[in-house]
Structure formats: C-alpha cells, structure tokens
C-alpha cells in the first residue's frame, strides 16, 4: 500500500534542517494564533473558556512540532520526464502529478524563518487552484535551480490551455 504514494521514480527528499525550521515556524505561527484566539475568547466570552482554548491550542502546537519530523520525511518530489510528482501527508496522503506543460509560473518564496535556515519554498502555479503544488524547505540554490528547470521544461512541453 505504501507504494501507491511512492511509485518508482527518482524521489528527492527534503533536507534534515527543514525539520528544525518547520518546528520553529509551527511554534511561532501556532503560538501567535493561539494567543490571539485565547485573548479574543477571553474578552468576548469567559476566561474559563479561554483556558480551555489555550490548552487545545498548546496541544495542537505540540502535535505539529512532534509530527514535523515524520511529515518532512514523508514528503517527496520526483522530476519525471513529462511531469512532476509530489507526495505528502501522513494520515491524509496525497500524490499529485503535474505535467510540466501545464505550469503557468513557478514562484520561489522564503519567509523570515525559512530564510534563517537558508531555505525556500517552490510553488507551482497551474490554471487550477486545486493543484496547490508546493515544495517547502528546499535549500535556496536548489529552489532557484528547480524553478528554472521547471519553467524551461514547461516552455518546451507547453500544452494548450
């Protein structure tokens, strides 16, 4: 059953330091969200409700921090001849195949936390919103290299819209 989400291909995994970056970003974003929500609940409803919310928020943060390692190890991408495969997810697994010819643009994003580890995220934009193809946590040179390879392959194999 595992090979359903990892067909034979040259799978590339994410670098180990992305686990740390992902833990920090999970910590940062989740804690900020939790604080905002807790304060909101506290002021609007009741501080006892806010306590419950805080516990839930902390549990969620801890869960994300713990799961980050397994999530990153489960993530993979493969550049095949005609398409890019992305596999991800632990419980809800997804395998997305995007033909190079369908890519409209390729973005390289790097937020402050990712930049601190020298990482960047490659985002593939197709005409479909549902594609939502992102490869997070790549070293910056790898990311720009991948972007340039993808766009060249896309222009060479362009499929009509």
């Amino acid at each position: 059953m595992t090979d359903l989400f990892a067909p034979a291909a040259d799978w590339q995994r994410l670098p180990g330091r992305y686990v740390t970056a992902r833990r920090w970003s999970a910590l940062a974003y989740n804690l900020i969200t939790t604080i905002v929500v807790v304060l909101g609940v506290g002021f609007i409803f009741d501080w006892s409700w806010a306590g419950g919310t805080a516990v839930a928020g902390l549990a969620w943060t801890g869960w994300r921090v713990i799961r980050a390692g397994r999530w990153v190890r489960a993530f993979g991408y493969a550049e095949r001849e005609l398409d890019l495969l992305i596999t991800q997810g632990l419980w809800n697994k997804r395998l997305t195949a995007i033909p190079y010819g369908r890519m409209l643009s390729v973005n390289v994003d790097s937020g402050p936390i990712e930049r601190a580890w020298g990482l960047a995220k490659v985002e593939l934009v197709t005409a479909s919103v549902q594609s939502a193809a992102q490869i997070p946590g790549l070293p910056q040179e790898t990311a720009t290299g991948l972007r340039d390879r993808l766009i060249v392959a896309g222009e060479a194999q362009a499929l009509p819209l």
Binding site: L4, T126, Q157, A158
Partner: protein
C-alpha cells in the same frame, strides 16, 4: 509538442527597446514616483470619504472631531501608505528580456516569480487618475491563474512597449500585428445561417421545474413548518409557513421558465451561441475551447421522465449559475432536456468526444462503508478524450472532464479509505466549481490509472473541441470560399490552419484567440 521553439526571433514590428540598449541582464525597477502616487491615492480616498461626512445629508450636523485631529490623522495615514509604497517599490525588480519574464517582490516575504511567455493570456495597461497626471501606468499580466501579476507604476510608453513585446512573445513564432476584431453582435433573433442544435420548449421547462428536487425541497420545508404549527396548535405558524412557501414556489418556477424561456443553442459560422429569456432576452456566445468541465444532473423524478440538465464551467465566467433568471452569462448548457438533446449539446462543445461510449466501472462493494448512500452508484471511467465519474444517491451527477483540460491529477487517501483499500482521484481543471473527482476507487488500480491518465494528457492531438477530421476538411473547403483577408479571431479558418501547421501553430493560434488587451 517536443519541438522547442527556442529563442524566438523578434518580429520586426516589436519594439527593440527591451534588449537593444542593454545586452547584459538588466533588472528594472518601477518608476521612482510610485510610492508618492500610492500615498496620493490613499490621501484622495480619505479626503473624499471625510468630505462626504461634512456634506449635509438631511440628518442634521454630526459631531465631528476637531479639524486638526482629522488633518493629522489623514497626514499620518497618507505618509504610512507612502512609506509602505516606498518599501515595496524598493524591493520590486523585474526582468523582461529575450530569455525570461521575472518579477521579484517583497521585503520580508520575498517572492521571485517567473512567468512562461506563452502562458500570458492578456495584458492590461491601467491608468488610475493619480498615475495619469504623471504619465505613468500599471501593467497587469494575466496568466489565467487566480492572481494577476502587477507592475506599478511604469512610464506609459514603457508599459505599452512591454505590453507589445509580451503579446508578440505570447503569440509565439507566428507573431503578427493583428487588429482586434469587433465583438460579436448580440441580436435577439436567429440568423438564417444559424443552425439550431437544441431548443427547449416552455412546457418542458415547466415540467422540469415542478419535478426538480429543488422544488420538492421547498415544498417539504413548507410542509414541515405547517405540520409543526398544526401539531402545536399555533395557527399563525400555518400561515407564516404556507404563504412564503407558495410565493417561493411560484418564484422558483417562474424564474426557471422565464429565465430559460425559448432556450436555443445554435451554431453560427463563428461559433456557438445560446439565446434565452422571456422578458429580457440574453444572447451569449459560447467559446467551446474554454469549457473546462461539464456536469450532468438528474433529479429523482427526472429519472422517470428521462430529463437531464447540463452545467458547464467556462474560464472567466465565474461561478456556476444558481439563478436561472440572470441576464448576464449563464453556465447552463441545457436547462432540461432528453438524452438525445444532451448528446447534441455535448457534441456541440466537444465534437470528438462521446461520453456515452465511456465504459464506467463501479466502485467496489466495500466503498459502501465510506459512502453508505451513494456507494452503489459510484462509477468512473475514461476513454481517450474524457474522464467521466458518476455520483449521487437521490440526485445523480455525472462529471465530464476532457483530458485536454486537466491541469493536474491527484490521488488522495484518508485513514479510513486506507483501511478499506480505497483511494480518491481528483482531476484539477482551471475551473473552481465543478470539482471533478472519482471517489472510492480500488487502490490497487488507482496508480496505474493515474499514469494512464497522465499519458493521455500528454498527447493532445487536435483539440477535442475541434470538429472531427472529416468535418474539418469539409470546413476548410467551405472556408476557402468564405474566407476574407481579415483574420477573424475565433473563426473556423484559424482552426483549420492550426491543424495543418502542427501543434505549435495551434498554440500560437489559440493564443491569438484568447489574448485581449485593453488600455
């Protein structure tokens, strides 16, 4: 589709500006006045907003904070907008040259986007008032994705030059300066040259409306309300439930009948057209190439009447129409019709495909654990043109997606479906509303089917909205007689040329048909 066009030689009429004056890679910035204009725009909004407060509006004078406070607030906000504009200007760079179109933005969250030249759909040059004063303009690049890439602000001449250059690149090797043709005329009547494909009678619409599941949903909710009223002895609830229900039913039926009255799908020499309506007649042209997906649906009673409805999703038309009475574009391809009419209507947009020939395979029995109601009716299959999936328990739905419109394919599996050895397949198209998918597929076959689907996606051949080969040659003969020297954007002439000259020409052709530019 492997032939790389390579560095496309610039057509002689394209502006030589982008690379003639600088052979090395040249990154540009928007015009330095940009932050000033942004601050100015915010200032204008504030001033008009506050000015409106000062105007007498019949409610007497309102208490306002002292003038100096207002002025300080406005100045702070305008300066803030200007500062934000300065930062974003400082970090915005772009490269538009023979090799790449790249835009780098963002101070904290940096983004570097590269856009494929041939995916550019349209380019707009926009001039807000403040920019106009300084002879600046905003360049918007639409690649068909959700966000538009914006470059603001550039000198007007530069914006036009870049637009012309990008448009010529998007048209590929066959770049020519073509005049945009006049928009399609909207006439109430049918021309004699029009070939009527499908016509829906008002009585069919009426019958379909009163037997649709939406109608019965309104009836049931009204009856429920009345029953509660009777049971509790609250007589006012009977009235309060009955009157809105009756008026709601009346409104529903009349919307369906008047909105789609005299529905006619016809083929003109230049494409398909839908005309409909009783009080206000709407006539819209239907660009078959831009149809992303279609969905057939059938209410429970319609199964005995043999009626179907077709909704389609078209790029740039927004959501799937819920209100039949809208005067604008509607995404209903067939409001109600027999299977024969369904076939004709679908053959009009996809002449090469026949969905009835697609062999559908049912979901395995164990899928009923996950889909207790619709399980027995889940089916999916594909042939060389279409992917078809069937869903629904009471209301049956068939989703049809051509391979040529699939943007990506995803296999998804949750914890429960993993236990059952099932998986879902999603077919992503450029539309957002008909989310085509096949649920409860046997996991053992899903991977091989996915690679099969991907392989089909890569061999587009002639597009399935082209007429079939025999028809095309007939058309080309006919076209030779009809053809005028003026190139017409959506006509059959271009299509035939595209088929003769191979996939690249087809692409260039199509770019020409979809590219629009406004000023």
């Amino acid at each position: 589709m492997t032939a790389d066009p390579g560095p496309v030689p610039l057509p002689p009429d394209a502006p030589p500006a982008p690379e003639a004056d600088a052979p090395a890679k040249r990154t540009e910035r928007p015009h330095p006045l940009t932050p000033f204009i942004r601050g100015w725009v915010v200032l204008l909004i504030l001033v008009t907003g506050i000015g409106r407060e000062f105007l007498p509006d019949g409610e007497g004078p309102r208490p306002l904070p002292p003038l100096e406070w207002i002025l300080i607030g406005v100045a702070v906000l305008a300066l803030g907008a200007g500062a934000a504009g300065y930062v974003s200007w400082r970090f915005t760079r772009f490269v538009i040259d023979a090799e790449e179109l790249r835009i780098d933005t963002g101070a904290i969250f940096r983004r570097s986007s590269r856009i494929a030249f041939d995916k550019v759909q349209s380019i707009d040059v926009v001039q807000p008032f403040a920019a106009r004063v300084f002879g600046l303009a905003e360049l918007q690049v639409d690649v068909g994705s959700q966000e538009r890439f914006k470059l603001r602000y550039l000198q007007l001449g530069r914006a036009y030059a870049l637009r012309d250059y990008l448009l010529s690149r998007a048209r590929g090797a066959k770049a020519e300066a073509t005049e945009s043709t006049a928009p399609v005329s909207i006439l109430a009547d049918l021309h004699e040259a029009d070939e009527v494909l499908v016509q829906v009678q008002p009585q069919t619409l009426l019958l379909a409306a009163v037997t649709s599941h939406e109608f019965w949903a309104i009836v049931l909710s009204g009856l429920l309300f009345i029953a509660i009223g009777l049971a509790s002895g609250q007589w006012w609830m009977v009235l309060a439930g009955g009157i809105p229900t009756i008026s709601g039913l009346f409104g529903f039926v009349s919307r369906r009948v008047t909105g789609q009255f005299n529905y006619t799908l016809s083929r003109r020499p230049h494409g398909l057209r839908i005309s409909r309506g009783l009080t206000s007649i709407t006539s819209q042209s239907l660009p078959a190439r831009r149809v992303q997906a279609a969905q057939l649906s059938q209410s429970p009673v319609w199964r005995y009447l043999g009626l179907y409805r077709i909704d389609i999703e078209v790029i740039g038309w927004g959501g799937v129409t819920g209100d039949e009475d809208t005067t604008g574009v509607s995404t209903i391809l067939l409001p109600a019709g027999t299977m024969e009419q369904v076939r004709v209507a679908l053959a009009a947009i996809w002449p090469q495909a026949d969905f009835a020939e697609v062999v559908l395979s049912p979901a395995p029995r164990r899928a009923r654990w996950l889909h207790p109601f619709s399980g027995p009716f889940l089916r999916w299959g594909h042939d060389q043109h279409l992917v078809v999936s069937q869903h629904g328990w009471l209301v049956r739905r068939w989703q049809l997606v051509p391979h040529a419109r699939v943007q990506s394919v995803r296999v998804a599996q949750g914890p429960v479906s993993r236990r059952l050895g099932l998986a879902d397949l999603e077919f992503h198209t450029a539309g957002m509303h008909i989310a085509a998918h096949a649920s409860g597929v046997d996991a053992a076959v899903v991977l091989e089917r996915q690679s099969e689907l991907m392989a089909l996606l890569h061999h587009p051949g002639p597009d399935l909205s082209e007429p079939s080969v025999a028809t095309a040659s007939e058309l080309s003969e006919a076209q030779a007689v009809i053809a005028t020297p003026v190139s017409d954007n959506s006509g059959t002439g271009d299509r035939v040329v595209g088929q003769a000259a191979g996939p690249d020409a087809l692409r260039a052709d199509q770019a020409e048909a979809t590219i629009s530019s406004t000023e």
